[in-house]
Amino acid sequence: MELTGAEILVRCLRDEGVEYIFGYPGGAVLYIYDALFQQDDVKHVLVRHEQGAAHAADGYARSTGKPGVVLVTSGPGATNAVTGIATAYMDSIPLVVITGQVHTWAIGSDAFQEVDAVGITRPCVKHNFLVKDVKDLAMTIKKAFYVATTGRPGPVVVDVPKDVTVNKADYFYPETISMRSYNPVVKGHTGQIKKAVDLILSAKRPMIYTGGGVVLDNASEILTQFTRALGFPITNTLMGLGAYPGTDKQFVGMLGMHGTYEANMAMHECDVLIAIGARFDDRVVGRVDQFCPEAEIIHIDIDPSSISKSVKVDIPIVGSVGQVLQTMLKLIKESATRPDAAALEAWWSCIHKWQSLDCMRYDHGGDKIKPQYVIETLHNVTGGDAFVTSDVGQHQMWAAQYYKFNHPRRWINSGGLGTMGFGLPAAMGVQLAHPDAQVACVTGEASIIMCIQELSTCKQYRLPIKVINLNNRYMGMVRQWQEFFYEKRYAMSYVDALPDFVQLAESFGHVGLRIEKPSDVDGALREAFKMKDRLVFMDFVTDPTENVYPMIAQGKGHHEMHLPAHMTQERELA
């Protein structure tokens, strides 16, 4: 039986097992909405702005490992989604984004709500398609899901002209697909793996550095076994937090610009670096010619172009990190050589000395709420088991530093693109995917405003997200850079006309709380998480002068950190 393009599209989503689709209707996608309306398999979530749709689908994908699906109309619908698509692209998140398009015969005529969606999104997608014939629609959707979810994942855009959604064709959705031009490598090269294992077992000062690739490949379990079998120190990137238990004794904290003193010093001094599913991002590497100066580097990654892109590595291994780690662990267990216990002990005692300086210590005193304290309390109140989304800035770094993530896919943030406005819509996708879980959105008063309209979506779908607004009245990270590097000229980093967030939350139908005293932090968080069916917006009035430490200034080496006052004093005394 012949179906319309719109019916075919919805059937494809159903057959692909899509649970939720995040979107916003408009002229070019009305036939698709009409087809969605007449079925119950795929549930549509109506956002308030297309950027929110992309972020919500992204949060859904990050927290489940399944692809997120977006449906937006042509023109502004597509352009509004671009920030969300680019966010997913930078963090390798699988999305399938369906954009409406004007009729095929009108393409190129500057028609109403026409943009070249394929052209605009090309630099920020893994791949994109324009479907010109309804006969190609089902196959294209299949390809889109296949490309988005395999190899190094990423967003795929499918641009569907309006006439394609009304024209008819027979429905056939293939179970599997192969593409002659797309065959991601999965299995690592055996010879390279053997070489890497030999180097690992000869290391005196080894270091394991892992990124988002471990989370994406669901390889946390094998990474943990591998790390424990070796007894090596391990650090995670911002994107990799939770891949290894954050409270484990072998974990030395996050690395990079706002990483711990011990993680960065260990990077600087290590002799063998095992990089796993990480991409040597500039916020991690700092100064390239000072990066791990002593180390021979092993790099495992599914994307060959990530290898030796910024830092030259000695033993590259292209493949799925989970599979490669599995093989490596087997070889390590079979090997007659054991890690050098004496050298490792000396290395750990060196690391313990760095740890004893306690770089994460902050001043608890005074009557101002310290943002770090809010995050630590959030950890305690939620048992360290919540899904935490964040926006971008100081609050993001504090959440990363002080909420010790013990499980993968719990820490949801825009690491690569650094998109303010990400946190709240992402939390919607997380909460829909995990209706009974505790979901917190850690944000700041500047970021939250960027997608504040989604509070309305949260009301419509009764999403009991807990918004933790660390309100310091500044764009805190901008202010921090201006304090450090622009002689305290605080250009445009102070927002002089903030809303009353309590009233704002209430006007959207939610619960609003303002917390102004440190002694109220714990109680407020407990009260909020008890309200299991309500969104609670907590406006924490925090110390406006607090900075994120440690900090490596842009282009500096790992050993050249800005340190908190107590560390610089102690170092001077020593």
């Binding site: 630099p123 031009s181 797309y182 172009s305 030796s308």
Partner: protein
């Protein structure tokens, strides 16, 4: 160093702009780029001339391979290869210079493909430096226009870029 990279890509609208977009987005150099369908109409073959350090060329080939439309890639400069470019050049040719241009055309084994009473249009095929040399020996004031095809290249020997 200068590299000639040959690509087989899906003959689909947008494939060329993916390659061109990659080069501009990542700041890579392009000296020339030519593309046309192959004997299999579902495939296009592109010849790309670029230059850069070994690290940059490695990234260029990896990034090109990552494009979903790219089926196969070969860096022809890694082995022996033949490089050709075609040029059409229209020159003023009257009076004394008419005979001189004709003589140069013969020396370069070029062909005159269009003639008017005052001009010749000459077709010349060869490696890029041969084309450059021909332009140099002509009086620059006599050149009306030139058009070059960009480099097409193929490896020597029995093996070829196939799927």
């Amino acid at each position: 160093m200068r590299h000639i990279i040959s690509l087989l890509l899906e003959n689909e609208s947008g494939a060329l702009s993916r390659v061109a977009g990659l080069f501009s987005a990542r700041g890579y150099n392009i000296e020339s780029l030519t593309v046309a369908p192959t004997e299999d109409p579902s495939l296009s073959r592109m010849t790309l001339v670029t230059w850069g350090s070994d690290d940059i060329i490695e990234q260029i080939t990896k990034q090109l391979n990552k494009l979903v439309d790219v089926v196969k890639l070969q860096d022809l400069t890694e082995g022996q290869h033949i490089e050709r470019e075609m040029m059409l050049i229209k020159v003023k040719a009257y009076g004394e210079s008419r005979e001189e241009v004709k003589r140069l055309t013969e020396i370069f084994r070029a062909h005159i493909v269009d003639v008017t009473t005052t001009t010749y249009t000459i077709e010349l095929t060869g490696a890029g430096d041969k084309l450059d040399a021909f332009i140099r020996v002509l009086d620059s004031a006599s050149i009306i226009e030139t058009v070059r095809s960009g480099v097409a290249s193929i490896s020597r020997g029995e093996r070829g870029l196939q799927i």
